[in-house]
Structure formats: C-alpha cells, structure tokens
C-alpha cells in the first residue's frame, strides 16, 4: 500500500509539473477546445480552430490593450460522441482544460447536445466564456441562456440550430414545389432529441403549407435496415425524403434508396454524407442527395470574399477541402473572439461578453452577430445580414451549394430515374 501511495504522489507531481511550461514575456491567450476528436465534428473543428489561430499568430497575435499576445490552442479529447462514454467524462475533460491547461476561453464543444447542456453549469462555475461551434443543434441551448441570462451568459453559439434549419428547409422545399410540383414528403429521422423535434417541426410546417406528409418514422441509432420505411414512402408517392440523422448507418438508407430507385429526392441533415469522401464510400449512390452543412463555408462556395480564401487556406494547411459541419464556424469563432478581446482591451470575461454581444464582423459565412439575449448567432438568407447556411447537393461527385439562393452556385438536379 505504501508503494501505491508513492505512486499516487508521483502521479500527482506529474500533474503539477505538466502545466508549468515555458514562460514568455507576453503570455499567450489559451483557447481550450473540448472536442470528440475521433469524429468528424471533432477533428474538423480542431482543424478550423488551429488554422485560424495560426493565421492570427502569424499576423502578430491579438492586441490586448497595449501588448500583442498570441493564441495558444489546447485540444482535449472528450470522447463524448462515442457510445458508452458518460457525459461526466467529457465534463472532466472540460475541467482539465480550465483547471490544468489554464484555458482562458473555450471554443468548440462539447459536441454532444447533452454534454454541452451539462457543461453550461460548469462554465458558469468557472466563469469561462465559451463559443459552441460544432455538434449541438438543440434550441434548448440558447433558450437556456435566455431563461437565465445572468447564470448562462458565458455561453455563445455561432452555429445554427434546429429551429433555423427547419425554416431554411421549408423555404427550400417550397422552392422545389414551385419548380417541380412536389407535394408529398416522407420524414425519416434518428431517435435523438434534436432530430425528433426537427421531424415533428417539419411535419407541422409542411402540413401547414399544404403538403401531404407521411408521419415521421423514427429510427433508433444503429438501425441497419430501412426497407420498410422506404418502400412505404415510395408506395405513398413521396417525392421528398426528409432525413435527419447523424449516425453512420444513414449511408445504408441512402444506398437502399438508390438501389430501390425510389422516385424521390432525399433532403436533410445527414452527417454521414458531409465529407468529400462520401461519394466513394457510398459507391456513387449519394448522387442528388441534398445535405445541410449547417453553416456556409463547410464546402467550397462563394458566399463572401472570405469563403474561398478560407477554403483555400484550409486546403493548403490540411491537404483537403473543409469536410463538414463545424469547420467554418470553429474557424470564425476564433476571429470573433479576437475581435471581442481587442475591443474589450482585456481578457476579463464580463468585458469580453459585452464585446462579443456587440461584435459585428463579416465572416466566412456572412455577417456574424450574436443575439444579445440568447447569445445565438443571428441567421439570415442573405450573407450581408447574418450567418447563412450551407445546403449543398451532391452533383457529379462534388458538393454544390444550392441554397440560400443568394449564394447558390447551381440548381437542384433530380436523380436520373425521376426525370420522366
């Protein structure tokens, strides 16, 4: 037992020594990034953050008052997207960033909604400003900020949420109705809170607009066969398959759809279909699929002058196109933070919060402003007014921005077997 104690003490000493890194004249501003790095939403956010920080540091750093301080990025693997890992594990990771890595600000995750919601109390406890840039799509997040501003004022989110995305989808579908005369939609969603809520909201919205909607089919995570739902949708003449899934098995659904040659076009939030590699993975069967990448700039597009600059810089640094949701927003969050710190002239949380609330910069995916009450980025269909989404369609194996109209580079193309 003595050996054990000794071991614990030695381990503890290591823990003490680790943060004691080299001390420079101008201490860096530490940004902690709690991310589930083994997953798309984790690693693309990590790359986005690192890219932005490198750019800023190369330009001399952040001007805090009279001195210029660099950004330092500390990434930690929270594992929160892995099944079987408790949220407390992710929260412990967050605490490690705050307490041991001495993070001044948090950007990125936690990625899973429930972990992010649980993290809000911790952020209040340690008084750390955080910008959520990936994962978390639940409206509960900003509603919680609004509900108890003084407690949760530390929490910002610069990506979209289900409510906004629904509006965008409805507009898109309405456009398609006008163009092609579609009127029936089937809804297939994953059994998680935000997807289910999304499915319900979609059903209601479309019914209100006069669509025939086949009641949502909710699939548990890990379902491997969708034939029943798909053939049902096909029989009832659905022209739109509205999907909301962030599980890998959604590829199965798309392959089945292509094999069945259903006379419908899949539209939705499908995490498996975001990456450039998806086309190869699906054996070309994802052609015509319309996917929401949540924010513009997660695929090459011309939204603002900055967009392609960002895409090119990303390609240069990491050797591939931005892969999916979380890339552009994580990148922007660093710039928003830089802007806020410079305006506040300090890293004091309260001052930075005020500065973030008043921040207004043109970014990769439009104008970036936070709502003062909810700390949610203000969305818009027009990049000049607010943050725009990035809905793309897979056309000839490439991701083509098709929505919002002001940023569109191409038109919706129907699957070959749908053309009469």
């Amino acid at each position: 037992m003595r050996k054990l104690m000794l071991a614990i003490i030695v381990l503890g000493a290591m823990g003490l020594l680790l943060p004691g890194l080299s001390y420079t004249a101008e201490p860096p501003i530490v940004i902690g990034a709690p991310l589930s790095t083994a997953f798309l939403y984790g690693w693309d956010a990590e790359r986005g953050i690192k890219l932005a920080a490198d750019e800023i540091n190369a330009a001399g750093g952040v001007k805090v008052g009279a001195v210029k301080r660099p950004f330092k990025i500390e990434v930690i693997d929270t594992r929160d997207l892995e099944p079987g890992v408790p949220v407390s594990e992710a929260l412990l990771g967050l605490e490690k960033l705050i307490l041991e890595k001495k993070a001044d600000f948090i950007i990125g995750g936690p990625v899973r909604s429930e972990a992010a919601l649980a993290a809000m109390d911790l952020l209040n406890r340690y008084k750390k400003v955080s910008i959520i840039t990936t994962g978390v799509l639940t409206p509960a997040y900003h509603k919680k900020v609004e509900g108890n501003y003084s407690k949760y004022k530390y929490c910002f989110r610069n990506t979209s949420h289900v409510g906004v995305m629904m509006g965008e989808f409805v507009t898109l579908l309405e456009d398609m109705r006008k163009n092609y005369g579609f009127k029936t939609a089937a809804i297939l969603v994953q059994d998680v809170e935000h997807a289910r809520k999304g499915g319900e909201a979609m059903q209601k919205a479309l019914t209100d607009k006069g669509w025939t909607v086949i009641a949502p089919k909710i699939y548990p995570t890990g379902t491997t066969d969708y034939s029943v739902g798909l053939s049902d949708a096909g029989k009832r003449g659905a022209q739109i398959l509205f999907l909301w899934m962030d599980m890998p098995e959604s590829t199965i659904l798309l392959k089945q759809w292509a094999d069945m040659k259903l006379k419908s076009i899949p539209v939705g939030f499908v995490n498996a279909a975001e990456q450039p590699g998806f086309m190869k993975a699906s054996g070309g069967k994802g052609e015509s699929l319309i996917v929401n990448l949540v924010n513009g700039g997660n695929a090459p597009a011309k939204i603002t002058p900055w967009t392609m600059k960002f895409v090119d810089a990303y390609k240069k640094k990491w050797g591939l196109e931005p892969e999916g949701y979380g890339t552009s927003s994580s990148y922007m969050a660093v710039y928003q933070l830089k802007d806020a710190i410079e305006k506040a002239g300090s890293t004091d949380p309260d001052k930075v919060i005020t500065a973030l609330e008043n921040g207004d910069i043109m970014g990769v995916y439009g104008r970036m402003r936070f709502d003062k009450k909810t700390h949610q980025v203000i969305p818009s269909m027009d990049p000049k007014e607010g943050a725009v989404t990035g809905i793309i369609q897979w056309q000839k194996g490439k991701r083509v921005q098709i929505f919002p109209p002001k940023t569109a580079e191409g038109k919706v193309v129907l699957p070959p077997w749908m053309k009469k």
Partner: protein, 333 residues
Amino acid sequence: MRKERIDRGLKVRTEGIYAINSAREILYLMGPRLLLIAGLLALPFVFEFAPYWKRVINIMCAYALLAIAFDFLANYVGLVCLGGAFFTGIGGYFAAIYNVNLGLPIYLSIPLATVSGALLCTFFLLPCLPLRGVYFAIVTLMYPLLFTRIIEALDIFGGTNGITGLDSFPNPYLEHYAIIIIALVFLFGMRRFVNQDVGLVLRGVKDNDQSVKASGINVTRMRIIAVFVASFIGCFAGAYIAHLYMWAGISLFALDFSIIPIASVVIGGGGTLVGAAIGAFILVPLSEILRAFGTFRIVIYCIVLTGFIVFKSEGIMIYLQRKYHQFERWVKV
C-alpha cells in the same frame, strides 16, 4: 534453488486471528489501514495546486464505490453484475428529480435518491435473483441499455438532453470530503459487514447456495439484501456524480460505469474490497494521464486489463498483502 515463503513473526496463519503483544505489532497491523485513511484524507490538500486533479479525486472515489459494490456482489455473494451503470443511472436520475423537480436541497436529495434508488434497483433485479448462473450478469448488462432506450423512446425525464441545473456542492472541500469519507466508511463498513454473521451467510450463498437452502435460509431473500446493499452504494455514487456535474442524463447509464469498476476489481484484486478501491485509485488517474493519447488510452487500458486477468489474476492487493505478511528467500533443495 526454490523460493520459500515465510510468515513474518506476528501473523498466525489461522485466518484473522492474531496475538498482539506490543504497540509495534499493533502498528504493523493497523499501519496500512491508517496510511490509506490518512492518504485519502490528505489528497485534497496535496493537490491544492493542481485543481484539476482535485476533480479527478471525486470521480476516482465514485468509481471506487462502484468497484466496491461490484466486488461485494461478485466475490462475496456470487452475483456478477455487469451493469454498475444501472445503479449510477437510477441514483443520478432520482437525485435530479428530487433536486430539480421537487426542489429538495442537496443534503436531502442525495440520501433520498440513494435509498429510493436502491429500492428501485432491487425491485427491478428481483426476477432474476432466484436463478443461478450467468443470467444475473446478462440481465444487469441489458438493464442500462433498456432504460436508455426507454427514456429515449418515451422522451421522459428530459429525453436525450437530460435534466440540467442540479445544485452543486456549496463548497469544494465539502465536495471532496463528502465522497472521500463516504468511500472510506463504505470500504471499512463493508469489510466489517462481510465478516458479520449476515455477511457470512452471504458468503455461504456464494460458495454453495444449495447448502444454504438446506440450512433453512431463504437464499433469494439473502440475495435481495445483498443487491440492496450494493445498489445502495452504487446509487449513492450515481447521485453524487449527478450533483457533482449538476446534470443527469441517459449517459449516466453509460458502459464506462460498468466496465471501469470491473477493471478496477480485476486489477486491484477481487474479494478484498480494499483491492477494488485501490484498483480504482490506480485506474482512474492512469486513464487521466493517458488522456492525451485519445482513444489509444482505451487500448492501453484494455491491454493492461487483459494482462492482469491472464498473468496476475490475484490482483495487486493480494500480492501486496502477501509481500507484507511474508518474506521470501531462496533456499537450496
């Protein structure tokens, strides 16, 4: 040449009976225990300058409690529970409901959640208690999954988002000492309990339940008592974690809460209770140190675990005990 093992002077090899003559001998016996108690109590102060590691202490003690519960059930009652997460989940949700929905203060919600959680767990496990063999293991493995799915499907208790906004502990020292002291109390309490007459009967159930039945004792009732005790410990850990992170959600039923305690018991040494706790004290910090390796730490972790099972199945505790009570020397044959 052959290795010879000789008992140190004091210990008479009749299982638990000692003849104590001097203060030195008392110290010999009590020393390790005192060291453990003092060491644990001192931890929050030792890590005063590494605040993050203070947080690890809390989780470490919570896992130690779960490991003790597993060790007790598996090695003293013969019920292998693969679902420690079931206990933490139920305990955590109860704490959240009491604290958030009913507005009870933290010093009421934790004890109430512990008791009611233990009752509920026992109730759900009742059906598989009369059975022998692997059924208890399979059912306990399935229950956390089932509850996750039910909460998900019925969208109750906050659905997949969980319940947030639980009260945290009023001050960090209370937070540390609440769990450290409770862990110590359960540790030594359970060690005492298994040597009480009731505990002996439970151990009898493990060795030979038929014979216990033939002795006129209702085996199922004994198992109910044991499951209640274990789930009491587990639910406390769950309620504590819920309050520690001010949150309860379906991932309180996560597999880690089942696996890490089992691994702790394997590494620490089964059937000693102390070994279980020590296993957790080693594994949890180890897993923190390895955090930088990302998922690779799970690989390291699993290899260590397999290594222990295969090559050192007695575990660290029993090994240390042997080294402490005996010395070895090479003799010529």
